[in-house]
Symmetry: D3
Subunit: 70 residues, 6 copies
């Protein structure tokens, strides 16, 4: 009965991609640890880029810097 | 000083129902473990059905299948 | 299919008390939101008092201060 | 490679304030534990006041009571 | 830069199996969402069976009942 | 009433260092968002290096590779 929480930045993941993550993680847990898919939960959190920091900076700032540098 | 996080699918829980969950969990922790309500936190996360998977499928798909099968 | 995470300090909660929390939260979600107990998960985390802070201090320090003040 | 999750009520924190939290936490972990900022993640969750309880009541109710008592 | 938290009951997962989960989830996020493995974090929590409830009961009780019923 | 969860690898952080993190985060939230320290919670989770992955590998493997490469 595993519980999996996937946190990603909110940058346009589609319902199809999220369904693929759910199916893939559930299959992985069944294959590696013989966990029952019927009681495997997967929750995906999409986080605004203003609210996610890495390297001491919000992702919003990193994306702008990356664009400017192209 | 307990911290409780309740995750449910976003399917129309009302403010009154959420207040009832908060009161109920806080009372439970006071009764069972003698925890002080003044420092008991409860956070409710409502998760889109596209973002919650069980049995390898998003809840959105399960709800549609359940409707179709009625 | 709710998921509930209860975080408490590790200060001697017994298996019976933890079972009572699990039963109580599950019953609350069934009563208030009509959630199915069969797919309600409850995870209890017990946290060392060195690792839990409130008011800017570890709980370890607060417990010592409370004892000294008795 | 620390991971930090900050949960606050959704009551108007600005992007600038959130950037300041991200920078401050990252700097703190580098200073105290010599953690590398490049692999320090900070995620801020802003929670609706209906969904956050303390003292057995939603923050929404506490804010209204505080206003009425002014 | 995804963050993934996998919670399982503490029932003997080996270091090799945990490494396989880490590799598998990281590969899945790279394949489905083009996420960079270098900044993909995976944290596995192993939870005592006394501290995990499903169906209103601790997993410890469910395992004992399953054994008794064999 | 913020709630902060800091996850780090279990690699010898002392009680003093953890107290410094608790004090620092609490002070940061008071300074930036005017949050009341009395209701600011900080929980530190120390995670075994076998259970933390980055770049698709457990930190245990990364630490061994780093030692070998010295």
């Amino acid at each position: 009965m595993p519980f999996v929480n996937i946190q990603i930045t909110r940058e346009g993941a589609t319902a199809e991609q999220k369904a693929e993550l759910i199916a893939g993680v559930t299959e992985l847990l069944a294959r590696v640890l013989n966990k029952n898919p019927a009681t495997t939960f997967v929750i995906i959190d999409e986080v605004d880029t203003d609210n996610w920091g890495i390297g001491g900076q919000p992702v919003t700032a990193l994306r702008l810097a990356a664009k400017a540098g192209r």
